[in-house]
Amino acid sequence: MTTDNFEPQIVAFCCKYCAYAAADLAGSMRLSYPPNVKVIQLPCTGRVDILHLLKAVEDGADGVYVAGCLEGECHFLKGNLRARKKVNYVKKTLEEIGIEPERVEMFNLSSAMGSRFAEIANEMTQRIKDLGPSPVGTHNV
């Protein structure tokens, strides 16, 4: 399998109050970001479960990230800090089973940061392109 035309599949779990609104803003600002990123809305990143992240990897996502409010500005006080812990836990788990932990990441942004949303999507897509397809994915069968 060559990685020249590899288009990664990336799942982004986004908090309704910041990242999801920032994605909306990125749209109204007419910013473009790679179509590789698929957004799933959550009421708060505190809702994200280790299970959801691992399931996305198992399903074949080449990258998964959680995008929540800036630290200290969580709409529900501390949900984003809990999410970061879970992301770190998943990173460790992936490392143990031989999958690059960089495939999973936590980002923080506010709803006013439309351009940051696009930047994160670009950053993550580039990172995963450099890493190549996930060993779990369906790309290499």
Binding site: P43, C44, D49, D59, A61, H75, T138
Partner: protein, 205 residues
């Protein structure tokens, strides 16, 4: 009214001459010419700088942009609302605007508030956590995790979440080790179904 655009690198020049009064020179990039005029009066539009109200904004959990102005829930669909329900905005704290515009916005904010105040009772969102009593191990994780202290365990012998008090963040649902808590509308099955749908054969084919 005539608007003249100028290039930021070539700002207009104003000269006060005792004999001839004011003289304004500006390079118009559209005409590609330098214009000169003798205005009777020059009024500067001074910058509007927002107050630093971080403590208040933090208290209400309302977002501000990089310049320090408030950010609405959606610039087109919900222009005077915040994403937090029941909080509205009007005026210069939002962005520099004329008095007319501030008044129009204040009227909009009032009418949005009236949609709530005019009702005897309102329906709240169904995004609340519910407990499956049969799976609850009374471990107190949810009681400690909830940022608002909603779950409680009393004589019932299992965790109880009062729907009217629950803010619907879902922290308890993802922390509960027994998977006894479900956040309505964001259930594990629904979230996992969304990732599954992205990768099912119909999506990749």
């Amino acid at each position: 009214m005539v608007f003249i655009r100028f290039d930021e690198s070539k700002p207009p020049e104003l000269i006060l001459d005792d004999a001839q009064g004011l003289s304004l020179t500006v390079a118009d990039p559209i005409l590609g010419r330098t214009l000169n005029m003798q205005p009777d009066l020059v009024v500067l539009a001074s910058a509007v700088i927002p107050n630093e109200n971080k403590a208040l904004f933090d208290l209400f959990k309302v977002p501000i942009n990089a310049e320090g102005f408030l950010v609405e829930a959606h610039s087109k669909l919900r222009p005077v609302d915040f994403s937090s329900e029941g909080i509205f905005m009007a005026g210069l704290a939002h962005y520099p605007k004329s008095l007319d515009e501030s008044i129009a916005q204040a009227q909009a904010a009032v009418s949005r508030a009236m949609t709530i105040l005019s009702k005897e009772a309102i329906w709240v969102g169904g995004v609340v956590a519910t407990v499956d009593a049969s799976r609850c191990a009374v471990c107190l994780t949810c009681v400690r995790a909830c940022p608002y202290g909603v779950p409680h365990i009393r004589e019932e012998g299992h965790a109880v979440i009062e729907p009217a008090e629950c803010h619907g963040c879902g922290v308890c649902a993802s922390e509960c080790p027994g998977k006894a808590i479900t956040l309505q509308h964001f259930t594990d099955r629904q979230i996992i179904a969304k990732t599954d749908a992205l990768f099912c054969e119909c999506a990749t084919a």
